[in-house]
């Protein structure tokens, strides 16, 4: 939360000569970050970020206190002048009364007083000035006092018009309770608000007149005709205030402070000060007892810190005497036990909820010393004995391979506008920011690559080759959804020749690199979700068990692409395996020959390679084959036939193959082709 602190107001409590620049520098390094230093005439205003745990700094007095501790440690001349408000003289008359019916759980501290003889007017210039500097608009001499106390003490204060509440009686009933369903209130800004159940409200047992801790009701507001007021400071239950304020989306300054924390020992002094200022600027007089109903059960807590732990965190030595001095300057009454080497501290009331464990005290001590005063030191202990996950280097290798083949990497958003598979497996966001990003993609990165990368760049580039390696996300019936890493590759060519085999070459190379050999091609399934994204000709690559690991095809005119499920591929990969071993080099000369044969067009390359792979050869025989030609002419076309020529390399690890040996192997090949594929042999060399 950012707050404004005028240096002139701070200097009411902090006696110092240091420049605003220096003040800002030390406070930023040891306390709160001064984000901007604004010059305002003779004065300077510190625009400072205060973290939620330091609500004690959300006031001029609190800020000055902490600054004093910081500046004195660093040798600057400063001292504190925290004038304690004097206890006001008691009222002569106690005719007027407040009947407080309190729910102590929601209002543990209640301080109030009735003041009469009120003349609502304009606040004096110096009060208005200070309010303006902290971003508050001056309104009238009563409301200005409540805001002034808020900024000076960090205590929200409210003023009610006594007569609007008492309605002619001498007693004003103030009942604090939790609101029920369906209740509402017109707040003093004129808005009618439906009150969430469980909001803290004040009523007179019949009519609600205050949305406690957030904003007063219009029906009890102070106006220019007000003659008698109730001045009121308090503590409310943090959680209830926060909940109501968030539900109503009404984040007033009071709410923001009540939900964080209030110093229980500050509530009454703040009221005293308020009384002072009302007397001074609105001619008010105390007309009742001063009510102080306290059920906070506040008792100063003790926390301890071991010296050894402090030194561990600090990384260097520190004399206990110096430590004690720092803690005392921050309001912690500290005693050091030199035998047990333990500090015992009494936590001041303004830090009652923030300081609980040793580390909290360590933070107080070392931040005052200044983290900027510590020298860097690397950890010198042994690094962990960990088995490094090799998948990251595999991922990087694939990325570099694509880069050096002319592809550019892109990152598109994981969130899309609909379930890509339309089967309910997608994960939806409850509170999306925009409508086009409300579901996590559950099938593919390809659509986004097309719409977010290919399309926008078509105007400048005639050839676009891109890829993305990212997750798709699927619901499971387990606790956590499945996050699957996929690789999408897309190639666009305006003057396109056929790009399919180029992309397939890339796909084959990736599988080869990963040592994934065991896959089958399958024609597109007419039910496949992929049909929504591919225009034509595609096949999927599946494992033996039918698990899909890749899809490749034509996405659109001049646009081709494929997607590999990398996680599935990695599980099949021989590349990650540590069982890799060296294959002995065969020094025998291979026998090479071409064999041509004719098959029906139904027979695909895959069928031929499967057939050849399944030939039963003795383990020392190496057979390497390569397609040389696939050939159709008119004559063959009429007979519905396709001619293939394959080059075969025969070798043996044990000996140099003789002609007789070659004949044996050749026979096996021919038999397999004839039997398995009904192939007709053509001439062979």
């Amino acid at each position: 939360m950012n707050l404004l602190y005028p240096y002139s107001w701070i200097k009411k409590f902090l006696i110092t000569d240091i420049s605003a620049n220096d003040f800002s520098k030390y406070v930023s390094l040891c306390g709160s970050s001064v984000e901007r230093l604004k010059k305002d005439g003779d004065d300077y205003i510190f625009d400072t970020e205060i973290t939620t745990n330091r609500w004690d700094l959300m006031s001029i007095r609190g800020f000055a206190k902490d600054a004093n501790a910081i500046l004195s440690y660093h040798g600057k001349k400063t001292s504190l002048n925290l004038l304690s408000p004097k206890t006001p003289a008691l009222s002569k008359s106690t005719k007027l009364k407040i009947k407080a019916i309190l729910d102590f759980k929601i209002c543990p501290k209640f301080c109030a007083v009735i003041m009469d003889n009120i003349k609502v007017g304009e606040s004096p210039a110096h009060i208005k000035n200070r309010l303006i500097k902290v971003g508050q608009r001056p309104l009238n001499s009563i409301i200005d006092v409540t805001n002034y106390i808020y900024h000076e003490f960090g205590q929200p204060m409210h003023a009610f018009d006594f007569d609007k509440i008492a309605k002619g009686a001498n007693t004003a009933v103030m009942r604090t309770r939790s609101s029920k369903k369906g209740e509402s209130l017109i707040t003093l800004d004129g808005q009618k608000r439906a009150l969430p159940e469980g909001s803290i409200i004040i009523d007179d047992t019949k009519t609600i007149y205050d949305l406690a801790g957030i904003m007063g009701g219009k029906n009890s507001a102070v106006d220019k005709n007000t003659k008698r007021i109730i001045l009121f400071t308090q503590i409310y239950d943090k959680k209830a205030i926060r909940k109501t304020s968030l539900l109503l989306n009404h984040r007033t300054l009071a709410a923001q402070l009540f939900e964080k924390g209030i110093d229980p020992l500050n509530v009454l002094p703040a009221l005293y000060r308020g009384i002072e200022l009302v007397k001074k600027y609105s001619k008010g007089q105390i007309a009742s007892n001063i009510y102080n109903i306290d059920h906070t059960n506040y008792k100063p807590r003790k926390t301890s810190l071991s010296h050894k732990k402090l030194i561990t965190y600090l990384g260097q030595d520190l004399k206990p005497r110096a430590t004690v001095k720092i803690l005392e300057s921050l309001g912690f009454k500290t005693i050091y036990n030199p035998i047990q080497k333990v500090y015992t501290c009494q936590v001041p009331s303004w830090r009652y909820d923030d300081i609980n464990i040793e580390e909290d005290l360590i933070e107080e001590i070392i931040r005052i010393i200044g983290y900027f005063n510590l020298q860097p030191e690397l950890v010198t202990k042994s690094p962990p004995q960990i088995i490094i996950d090799k998948r990251y280097s595999l991922e990087n290798a694939i990325k570099y391979f694509l880069k050096f083949n002319g592809f550019s990497e892109a990152y598109t958003y994981s969130l899309v506008d609909k379930d890509q598979k339309e089967d309910g497996s997608a994960i939806y966001i409850k509170n999306p920011l925009t409508n086009d990003k409300k579901v996590l993609r559950n099938l593919s990165v390809l659509p986004n690559l097309i719409s977010q990368v290919i399309q926008p760049n078509k105007g400048v580039f005639n050839q676009i080759k891109v890829f993305e390696m990212a997750n798709i996300y699927l619901k499971t019936n387990k606790e956590m959804p499945l996050e699957n890493l996929v690789l999408g590759v897309v190639a666009y060519n305006k003057t396109s020749k056929e790009n399919y085999f180029y992309l397939k070459g890339i796909l084959d190379a990736i599988f080869y690199y990963l040592k994934v050999y065991d896959y089958r091609y399958q024609e597109s399934n007419s039910n496949s979700s992929w049909l929504k994204y591919f225009k034509e000709i595609f096949i999927t690559l599946n494992t033996k068990k039918g698990v899909e690991i890749a899809v490749i095809g034509k996405l659109d005119t001049n646009l081709w692409g494929f997607q590999i499920n990398l996680d599935t591929a990695f599980t099949l990969s021989g590349g990650i395996s540590t069982k890799d071993k060296f294959n002995p080099i065969n020094t025998h000369v291979p026998v090479i020959e071409d064999i041509s044969f004719i098959v029906k067009p139904l027979i695909r390359y895959q069928n031929i390679s499967n057939t050849l792979n399944s030939i039963n050869l003795p383990p020392e025989i190496e057979l390497i084959y390569k397609i040389k030609d696939r050939y159709v002419d008119k004559k063959l076309k009429n007979k519905e036939e396709v001619s293939y020529t394959f080059e075969f390399k025969y070798n043996s690890l044990k000996k140099q193959l003789s002609d007789k040996d070659v004949v044996k192997i050749r026979e096996l090949i021919i038999r397999a082709l004839e039997k398995g594929l009904k192939a007709k042999m053509r001439m062979k060399r």
């Binding site: 390094l29 990384g315 962990p384 920011l433």
Partner: protein, 346 residues
């Protein structure tokens, strides 16, 4: 020699081979073009050709003898010419070959700036013994907040504009993790100390402007060991910053507040322009890098780490943020804009 002399029938004058050789050597000395020299002596109308033409005016017996001598002369001229080393600005052997032309073009693509940055981060921290992890993007509320000392409905959760996920789970909500800190307790439950985790993963927040995108990457370091000090944190961050940004850069810690660290810090890097002295572009000599802190004992307890023996530090920074700082990229949305003219630069 000119034609007039060629018509003289005195064989001694016509067949003065020494003169020819001397003239050749003079031509070579004057660095005349090789092809011109060749043409002058060996060409169709060259000296050898002229000498050979003059043979027909001679009696038969002389013809044979001088013919042989002309042949020898020719061979000698060829020999002399072959020993001429061509000068650099001579025309090359073939007019068609220009060795300075660009080679066969090999298309080189590009890796995304985010990938490149992640690789650099991983590389630098691995030297300090950090190992790479990638924890889930869709995360339970427990690991994203509760285990990090942020109970349900705690105001601290507001700071992360979180996306909530529609899940059928009855026990606990699912979120898109707004930070990589979700990896901390997961790592502690998985690995016994010493721990040096580097979790780099996608994060999500409900924000979109010049410095925020709904999806972004963070990197989270977690070091758990015995007797870890704040100086160790500074040392580790300095090591990274020097190696990533440059040797004259360093970090500075300022007090801050996170629920999962105590003490907590905001980390600045010294300004590249004034190197920490203070100038118009920086805040007090520095620029904000990200948050850090000593791991809160409640978080260690969530991770079942013995707080009597171990403590540690953690830091979590934006990947895009440091890249933008390094390459002076003004708007974060350019990084996910996927304009190829941007992508191809890296």
């Amino acid at each position: 020699m000119d034609r007039k002399i060629a018509k003289v029938t005195d064989s001694r004058a016509i067949f003065n081979f020494d003169v020819v050789i001397k003239e050749l050597e003079k031509d070579i000395g004057e660095k005349k073009d090789i092809s011109i020299i060749k043409s002058k002596y060996l060409g169709k109308r060259g000296e050898i050709a002229k000498l050979t033409a003059n043979l027909k005016n001679l009696p038969a017996n002389k013809k044979s003898e001088l013919g042989k001598k002309i042949n020898l002369l020719r061979k000698e001229i060829v020999n002399i010419i072959s020993q001429i080393t061509p000068l650099p600005d001579n025309k090359p052997q073939s007019l068609d070959f220009d060795p300075t032309l660009p080679g066969q073009q090999i298309e080189i693509g590009s890796l995304h700036l985010v990938t490149k940055t992640i690789q650099e981060i991983e590389d630098i921290f691995s030297r300090l013994g950090f190992y790479r992890r990638r924890y889930p993007e869709v995360e339970t509320d427990y690991f994203a907040f509760e285990a990090l000392n942020m109970p349900i409905e705690h105001p601290a959760r507001d700071e992360w504009e979180t996306f909530f996920v529609k899940s059928p789970r009855s026990a606990g909500a699912l979120v898109l993790t707004p930070h990589t800190s979700n990896g901390q307790v997961r790592e502690m439950l998985k690995t016994k100390p010493p721990i040096r985790m580097l979790n780099i993963a996608k994060c999500y927040r409900r924000q979109e402007d010049a410095t925020h995108t709904q999806m972004f990457f963070q990197f989270e370091g977690l070091l758990i060991d015995r007797d870890v000090s704040i100086k160790n944190l500074i040392g580790t961050l300095d090591f990274f910053v020097k190696n990533y940004f440059g040797n004259n850069r360093k970090t500075r810690l300022r007090p801050y507040d996170f629920r999962f660290t105590e003490p907590s810090f905001e980390v600045d890097i010294n300004c590249p322009h004034c190197l920490g002295k203070g100038c118009k572009t920086c805040k007090g000599g520095g620029h904000e890098l990200g948050g850090a802190g000593m791991v809160h004992p409640n978080v260690l307890k969530s991770g079942k780490i013995d707080t009597k023996k171990y403590n540690g530090f953690a830091f979590g920074w934006g990947v895009e943020r440091i890249a933008m700082m390094k390459y002076k990229i003004p708007d974060l949305r350019m990084i996910y804009g996927n304009d190829l003219r941007f992508l191809k630069q890296f």
